[in-house]
């Protein structure tokens, strides 16, 4: 994806550690004010990218442009980039105020300006009551906010966040996600967030870049990634999905017609549409399967038997076996009242062309 006047331009970055390739020829533009998330399993190269942007690691090849300036060889202290560390890395011998003031002090600000700016950021993040406390005297959530305040205080062009919510418990994490997103909106700063948690990525990001084995698998909005995953890896990594493997029957203007266990289905075509006869995989999200008493007039419709149900509270997971195709199974999420109403009798399942994404490999 190329952006007009990007804040960050990553050009052909590669990095190996011994025989292990961490990044392979990565090209990426990041626009101003974006909340970009790098998502992927551990070892996918997301942290390496972050550390290269922060200046803690040097790429083997390629360049990093920040605001048009080549910063590839600049040490961390010379970059207008700040980082929120995974373990927060708060300085234990300094109070909250001193931690936040550290970066300002090194920018050469005078005492009064440091105090003013620290107060400003502390009131913004509601840290005033803890100003004179030491990090050891704070809760996990408070420490996380101090780390954020410290990184934001010097007013960086780009803020790097290295899985900063990993150490929080599940309940707090949800709250902090909202907070982080709102802070990003209010400061209109560019956030570069790294996580392996797909839910976190979906909640907060304007744009998600899914990484695997040092390469970009897909780059898009959370909705695009969720409903139209480009690859099998993305479809499986984000959310739950049904994967249908079959053969291409034909391709028309906006859809791929495929054969799956003798059923003809229509799906959303990926870029670089497949050709007739190709073996392909399609992905359909569990909640996109609609239940009907009669044959629905959706482009895709199947008759299926319910073979299992799991109560999940507000919804149910229903296991289905397609009536006319032996061994063809699907899983669906339905509202609990719908789930409870279906029984032994076969049901009709229907979905749109757009709900089913044909994958790229």
């Amino acid at each position: 994806m190329t952006v007009q006047d990007p804040l960050v331009r990553i050009q052909g970055i590669s990095k190996s550690f011994g025989a292990a390739v961490a990044l392979e020829n990565l090209d990426l533009d990041i626009a101003r004010g974006e909340f970009v998330t790098f998502l992927g399993p551990s070892g996918c190269g997301k942290s390496t990218t972050l550390r290269i942007l922060g200046g803690f690691q040097q790429p083997d090849r390629g360049r990093i442009l920040l605001d048009g300036e080549d910063v590839t060889r600049l040490p961390p202290e010379k970059r207008h980039v700040n980082m929120v560390f995974q373990d927060y890395a708060l300085f234990p011998h300094m109070t909250v105020r001193q931690n936040i003031g550290f970066g300002l002090e090194l920018q050469g600000l005078d005492r009064a300006s440091i105090k003013r700016r620290a107060d400003e950021i502390m009131s913004f993040l509601e840290l005033q009551p803890f100003a004179e406390r030491y990090p050891a005297q704070l809760s996990g959530g408070q420490r996380q906010r101090v780390a954020l305040a410290r990184a934001l205080a010097p007013d960086p062009a780009l803020l790097l966040l290295d899985e900063p919510l990993g150490a929080l418990d599940a309940k707090l994490r949800g709250q902090v996600q909202q907070e982080l997103k709102s802070i990003q909106r209010r400061t209109s700063k560019t956030f570069f967030f790294v996580t392996h948690d797909q839910e976190e990525a979906l909640t907060m990001s304007d744009r998600i870049i899914v990484m695997n084995h040092g390469r970009v698998e897909q780059d898009g909005t959370p909705e695009e990634l969720y409903f139209h995953p480009a690859t099998r890896f993305v479809a499986e990594f984000i959310g739950e999905t049904n994967l249908l493997t079959g053969k291409v029957r034909g391709v028309d203007s906006d859809a791929v017609v495929m054969d799956w266990c003798g059923q003809t289905l229509r799906g959303h075509a990926p870029a670089g549409a497949p050709r007739t006869g190709d073996a392909i995989t399609a992905s359909i999200r569990l909640e996109r399967l609609g239940f009907h008493a009669q044959r629905p007039d959706t482009p895709n419709a199947l008759q299926a038997r319910v073979v299992g149900k799991t109560f999940l509270g507000s919804r149910m997971a229903v296991d289905l076996e397609v009536a006319e195709a032996e061994g063809a199974r699907l899983k669906a999420y339905v509202d609990t009242d719908v789930g409870q109403s279906v029984g032994e009798a076969p049901v009709w399942i229907g979905w749109d062309t757009d709900s089913m994404a044909v994958l790229r490999d």
């Binding site: 803690f56 961390p76 202290e77 890395a89 011998h93 550290f102 970066g103 090194l106």
Partner: protein, 263 residues
Amino acid sequence: MNRGNRVLLSCVYWAFVLYVFVPLILMVLVSFKDSKFIGFPIRSWTFEWYTGVFADAQVLSTFGYSVVIAVLSTAISVVVGTWIAVLLEGRRFWGRAVIFGLTVLPALVPGIISAIAFRIYARGLGIEPGMGAIVWAHAVHNVPFVVLVVMARLSTLPKSQIEAARDLGADPLIAFLRITLPYLVPAILGASIFCLLLSFDDFVRSFFLGGYEPTLPVLIFAKLRSGMSPEINAIATVALILTAVVGIWAERFTRRLKKETEG
């Protein structure tokens, strides 16, 4: 643990406590004995030995001399030891194991051997016996303790601390001074106290490298040779109390420091 084991263990513990403290207690008791002969029973008590000690100009100046030597040698070992620790910890380079081994060696060489070696070496270099030579020998002997203690502490400093400092605009030197050094303070303080006590306590090196002026242990030794007297007990008791006070204060101080910064 069953009951029998527990009883056995507590017996061993109390036996150990007796073994350590009884000689000290006897020494302190005798220092109050109103008689020139060391031994029991004590029929009458006196402070005379103590007033004698505090009035004895030689004892006082010797005490001061020992303290100066301890402080100087500790200052040198702390600077050199911390420096070596910082260079060695968390780095891999060719010859690291050799350097580490050589650094720790002075702590392992028997005192008498290193004392003789120093004496010969000092003469070769034209260094006069006296304070300089003693400080030098004590400093070399104490460096390994500083290196080990500081390295242990340094290994627990999360790498992200330094990275965070760099990230916020600190060059490597500022990061060291503002982050690493404060983190090392408890270790440096602990090592310093240990070095002070080691130096204050040292006899062999001080004896071999000393000039005309004795250190406190050397003076006690000299006095012992001219006959036991409760005066020696009094000197030892004062030294005991002072070292215990310094040790306990240091322990409490480092503990408070740790509590404040580590929760």
